[in-house]
Symmetry: C2
Subunit: 343 residues, 2 copies
């Protein structure tokens, strides 16, 4: 069925060793011989068997990517970032996504071992402890946005810092009572953003924080509207833990005739592409997702090729405040390409 190196060798009247040398560019081979081999390989559509190769070289040139169930924009951007860098370095990507429970995730860790050279893990379900137990000693792993032990390299987006910056911005615009619309409590991005909100509020001596439960989906933003308008002493601004919820809320406000930002300021987090096209354009925090992915791939590959017992890396990528008009102040400005970036 499949054509092997042996057939190429016969076709070019040389030994398999010479074929291998030509195709891998190692060892000295006469130019004419090399040409003949390459021609034969092309004619036969020869492609080396990855398994056989990895058996002897002890490399798979494949990176494993372990992801939880996560929403649209983030997922694709991250993969894109990883893929672009990995491919450029000659690595493939073995992806496994949408794990719902812990047992499933851990099973995948096991299944991936022996097929990949290293692992990029972005999964609240997989505890670092379980990782260590299921992987051989010293197996290269990069943790992304995951509460992870000191055992592995890890990369994080500065959710905390971004949230602090946003709250400060809102306060600087004169907003007094700022509510926070939370994400899922199990999600680390969500909890870090919450922590940033609390920190920044405390820093300015505002203890009148108001926190509303949410789950990162549009509908929970939509539903938060009632809660926001309920009590007396109601807030003048909301900071949503992500853009989707902010947009859901925006929609609810619009239906109720509440003007944004005049009656109520709204801010989001993530800066998804659509954020600048809602009405009014949404002030948000831009997260470098693709960059996060690329950096994860970079750190992992560096780890593969370097001496295995080096110091663990731990990095945090900065976010960027993007001011549009949903928080006031700049409402009358002409729409620019991307809002104004600070930071």
């Amino acid at each position: 069925m499949s054509v092997t190196i042996r057939e190429v060798a016969r076709e070019a009247s040389v030994s398999v060793a010479t074929v291998s040398r030509v195709l891998n560019g190692k060892g000295p081979v006469q130019a004419e011989t090399a040409r003949r081999i390459r021609t034969a390989a092309k004619r036969l559509h020869y492609v080396p068997h990855g398994g056989a190769r990895s058996l002897i070289t002890r490399k798979t040139t494949t990176l494993g990517v372990l992801l939880p169930e996560l929403h649209g924009e983030f997922f694709s951007e991250l993969i894109r970032g990883i893929d672009v860098y990995a491919r450029q370095k000659g690595y493939h990507l073995l992806v496994s996504s949408s794990h719902s429970d812990r047992a499933e995730s851990e099973e995948m860790v096991r299944a991936m071992r022996g097929r990949v050279d290293g692992l990029i893990v972005l999964s609240p379900d997989v505890r670092p402890h379980a990782l260590k137990a299921n992987l051989p000693e010293g197996f290269p792993v990069v943790l992304v946005n995951t509460a992870g032990g000191a055992a592995f390299d890890s990369l994080t987006v500065d959710n905390f810092g971004g949230a602090v910056e946003m709250v400060r911005h809102m306060i600087s615009l004169g907003h007094g009572r700022i509510a926070f619309l939370q994400g899922p409590s199990a999600n680390r991005d969500a909890t870090e953003r919450l922590r940033g909100y609390r920190e920044a509020m405390a820093e300015h001596g505002r203890d009148g924080t108001m926190e509303i439960a949410g789950n990162f989906r549009e509908e929970s933003g939509y539903e938060a509207c009632r809660r926001l308008l309920a009590g007396k002493n109601r807030p003048t601004a909301v900071f949503a833990a992500n853009d989707s919820m902010a947009i859901g809320l925006l929609c609810a406000f619009q239906e109720k005739g509440i003007r944004v930002p005049q009656d109520f300021a709204i801010a989001g987090f993530d800066d998804i592409p659509i954020a600048r096209y809602v009405t009014p354009p949404l002030t948000s925090v831009s997260v470098p997702i693709a960059e996060l992915g690329a950096r994860a791939a970079q750190v992992l590959i560096a780890g593969l090729e370097a001496d295995p017992v080096r110091r663990r890396r731990r990095e945090t990528l900065a976010t960027r405040l993007v001011v549009r008009s949903s928080c006031g102040e700049s409402g009358s400005r002409p729409r620019s390409a991307s809002g104004t970036a600070y930071g």
Copy 2:
């Protein structure tokens, strides 16, 4: 470094053959022996080497997924659909995305061969012709939303039918002059939607079609606004080839004080999650993306396990018209969970 089957065998005081039999559940093995082997395997954290295994079994239990550069929502949903089905059947996913040019795509086809059992290809860049040339005879491939020869299984979303249905709906609401905001001309989804628009317009004897160039991005919707308002005899409705452009356009209208749907009706395509949360909620065509992915995986796996020279499959998945208020008629209804589904 890595623990092999030999070490497990030694640990359990049996031969490698017996270990293999136990771990693969083939052949008769004494219960006590099996237990001892399983214990040993667990203690040593043994996982079989995928390469070695695929060498002899001639299977990789891995599916290749080849994707072009594509936007957020679609990408992740599709992968999710594929992944869920594939994993359930015990297959892994080797993903390669964001190919910009044809040469790159074809290179990936070659690289993947020898690592995967079959291929799911969703790439306008890869011509079926090139696929045939770079793959062994009879290699299982499923083409998704790709203009593909009769040589492979293929799956498509009924973009044409969905567009026809939408135009009919708009006409039934009394809209006379309906403009169409196109997607990228190289994209097959885009051209099929355009074809549907033309067909449905012609069917009702309206030759006054108006077609505006676009690229599926929000900004091109935003920019289309000028063109729409320019001439005299201006349209009363726009059908955008996807939701992102529809939302960009909505934003532009809102800035100019043009009311939707009173002054101008807007419809989109895709029914992205956010579509129901913009103002007004967007009438759109829902596309079963995850289902498309799952079905692709299903067809491919069926092809792998079945007799190889069976008839080619060619399927089209139905879309679903989702009526909200951006085209009028139902503007005053309370917002329901998902609009009203027809079809």
